[in-house]
């Protein structure tokens, strides 16, 4: 009988950590093909620009929201986001999830993001996938194009969300070629790759997955604390994967061919 109970509890735990009933919502398909990654005219770690081929994949239309992460947290009871002193869009967890359900979840480490992604039936995008989804096939400087426009939540943006996070999808004109929202500004986004400032010099040109080892993980897209140049589609930044800060969140990706 005891063995049976243990078996039963193990089964329930397993079901709780992998959400077999769920399927990531609002995913956008990015078709297979080549694009130009990096830039020869910007910071050293973006050089050289190089052609990269990616298989078809899907990317979240929005960053993962408090509401979505709350479901995961409620079921698994693990990977609690960091608590912050109350402010617009942040504050104590889980209160902030209920108060700001449609805001991107922040204060999550890379490991938290990975756990959520696995539970939700997706994964984090690779750095190359993230850049293609943001820049499109023609290598836009910002997701919406190459002109400086107030289409993102950035530092001193004077758009009603100065000095604070905005709800996801608040800047529809800022969507990328493929239709992904908020890929510039609002919150930085974890990618699955380790960071190396010289990786572009020796990267594989088909489905690159980042360096094999590293200390930091790559974050992309800039946030409300950053100026427009740091929110460009090629800008790279790194953060320790254990760091839980109030301006870093994530979005999901999913491979299409493997049927993840």
């Amino acid at each position: 009988m005891k063995k049976l109970i243990i078996y039963f509890l193990s089964l329930v735990s397993l079901l709780s950590t992998t959400n077999v009933f769920s399927n990531p919502k609002n995913m956008i398909q990015v078709s297979a093909g080549w694009f130009t990654m990096g830039s020869d005219n910007r910071a050293a770690d973006q050089k050289p620009s190089h052609r990269v081929y990616l298989d078809t994949f899907e990317i979240g239309e929005y960053e993962v929201t408090n509401q979505e992460y709350y479901e995961f947290w409620k079921i698994t009871g693990t990977h609690t986001p960091e608590n912050f002193p109350p402010a617009h869009g942040v504050g104590l967890w889980p209160d902030r999830a209920l108060e700001y359900p449609l805001y991107p979840v922040v204060g999550v480490s890379w490991y938290d993001a990975m756990a959520y992604a696995q539970w939700a039936g997706g994964r984090l995008p690779t750095e190359a996938e993230w850049e293609k989804a943001a820049a499109g096939p023609t290598g836009r400087l910002w997701p919406w194009g190459n002109a400086l426009k107030p289409y993102a939540n950035i530092w001193n943006g004077s758009d009603g969300y100065d000095d604070m996070i905005a709800p996801v999808g608040h800047y529809p004109k800022g969507k990328s070629y493929y239709g992904a929202m908020d890929m510039a500004g609002n919150v930085w986004e974890w990618t699955s790759d380790w960071y190396s400032d010289v990786y572009y010099a020796y990267t594989a040109n088909k489905n690159p997955k980042g360096p094999k080892v590293g200390s930091w993980r790559v974050i992309r897209g800039g946030s409300w604390i950053d100026n427009i140049n740091r929110c460009s589609t090629t800008f790279r930044l790194q953060l320790y994967p254990i760091s839980r800060v109030s301006f870093v969140g994530f979005r999901l990706a999913r491979s299409v061919d493997s049927g993840e």
Binding site: L15, S16, A44, F84, P85, L141, N146, G214, L237
Partner: protein, 400 residues
């Protein structure tokens, strides 16, 4: 094995019910624990850390240092925060503090490659070559493809006059990062010191190719030429070095001045132009944008910004900048001429022709407006019109 569909439905309902019970239990438990263990000190720690990293990202180093130090005063055992602190000290050039902070980070996580690299770099900057060499070698042992650690170790070996070893290490660094001007320069220096002048020339040339305005590479190249008896080439490079050094000094002066007086528009304007000359286009963009913020009616700033964007290979923001300037001042021929160039870069030849025509119409005495128009006419097969404007260009150039 076939399972009765009814049994499947019942089973899945049971599993679902148990799952709901379990998840609610976990939720209630976590919430209760979260409430009772609410730790104000931890919240303070998180707030300081969060603010510190934010300020560091924004380049406000003194504020970042203050916040990170406060964060560590509450919870001192986070290796990553000691490293973030070291990174902030590095920005301020406080190398002794970098050494202390990395020591703490490494105590908590001895294989932290980035902390080892930063520690090596700090020792290098303090002139402690032996300590630098040890820390960097350790970083490379953990991460053999760490190009920055290899580069700094190569530089350290040059300081230790271990030129053969330096050459080998820097060669590896240049394979990993062939776009590093500094690595090629030091590889040149390692060879120069070994008397390998031909190799040194190749490496200095590579460095100059990547960054033509980096003065030291010209000095190295000039020295190598003089050593092999090529006096003419040697002198030419040395003169180039002197001019670039002069520009670098002026750049330093203007940077300091504009930091001290952020609204000094003359200094900002000079800094933006000098940045263009030194091919530091990102800085030129930033500085021209600041000039426009301070004096939005001065057309020259828009013109400078549009040139800087084009030099970065971004014709669209260049075009947008020029169109904005034209709204402010619709009769400036130079704006139309530059707009024409932006359209050429964008591949929109018909709009380029219109813009160059407008420039010629406003100022028919400027030779290069005709030249630009002739070139685009030629490109589109309008040979007769191209010939007319080539002729106009030549006759204007020939005028005394």
């Amino acid at each position: 094995m076939l399972v009765n569909p009814k049994t499947m439905v019942v089973l899945s309902k049971v599993v679902r019910m148990i799952s709901i019970f379990w998840s609610n239990f976990v939720f209630i438990y976590s919430f209760a624990v979260g409430q009772t263990n609410a730790d104000l000190q931890h919240l303070k720690h998180v707030a300081h850390l969060d603010h510190g990293i934010r300020l560091m990202f924004q380049g406000s180093i003194p504020g970042a240092l203050d916040e990170l130090e406060r964060s560590l005063a509450i919870e001192p055992d986070h290796y990553e925060i000691h490293h973030y602190l070291a990174m902030a000290y590095e920005e301020g050039g406080r190398w002794n503090s970098v050494i202390l902070a990395t020591a703490k980070s490494l105590e908590l996580k001895p294989n932290n490659v980035e902390a080892l690299y930063l520690r090596g770099k700090a020792f290098f900057n303090l002139g402690k070559w032996e300590e630098a060499s040890k820390a960097l070698q350790k970083a490379i042992d953990y991460a053999p493809r760490h190009a920055r650690a290899l580069k700094t170790l190569g530089k350290t070996q040059i300081q230790r006059r271990q030129f053969v070893e330096a050459s080998s290490i820097l060669s590896k660094a240049s394979e990993l990062n062939p776009l590093s001007t500094i690595t090629w320069y030091y590889l040149g220096m390692a060879n120069l010191n070994q008397g390998n002048y031909k190799e040194a020339i190749l490496h200095f040339e590579k460095s100059i190719q990547l960054a033509p305005t980096f003065p030291q590479s010209h000095h190295g190249l000039g020295t190598a030429y003089l050593r092999i008896g090529e006096r003419g080439k040697g002198q030419e490079e040395m003169l180039q070095f002197q001019q670039l050094q002069k520009d670098a000094t002026e750049h330093e002066r203007l940077s300091r001045l504009t930091q001290a007086e952020p609204e000094n528009i003359e200094a900002l304007d000079e800094l933006a132009k000098l940045s263009m000359k030194r091919e530091n286009y990102p800085l030129a963009v930033k500085t021209f944008q600041r000039c426009i913020e301070l004096d939005p009616r001065d057309i020259s700033h828009y013109l400078g910004l549009s040139h800087a964007f084009m030099s970065l290979g971004h014709p669209i923001p260049s075009k947008d900048t020029l169109l904005h300037a034209i709204e402010l001042s619709p009769n400036q021929s130079i704006l139309y001429n530059t707009l024409g160039s932006a359209y050429v870069m964008m591949g929109d030849i018909s709009k380029a022709i219109q813009s160059f025509q407008k420039a010629v119409g406003l100022d028919p005495e400027i030779p290069f407006y005709h030249l630009n128009l002739a070139r685009v006419y030629e490109k589109t097969g309008h040979i007769k019109k191209a010939a007319e404007h080539y002729q106009a260009y030549e006759s204007l150039v020939e005028q005394p």
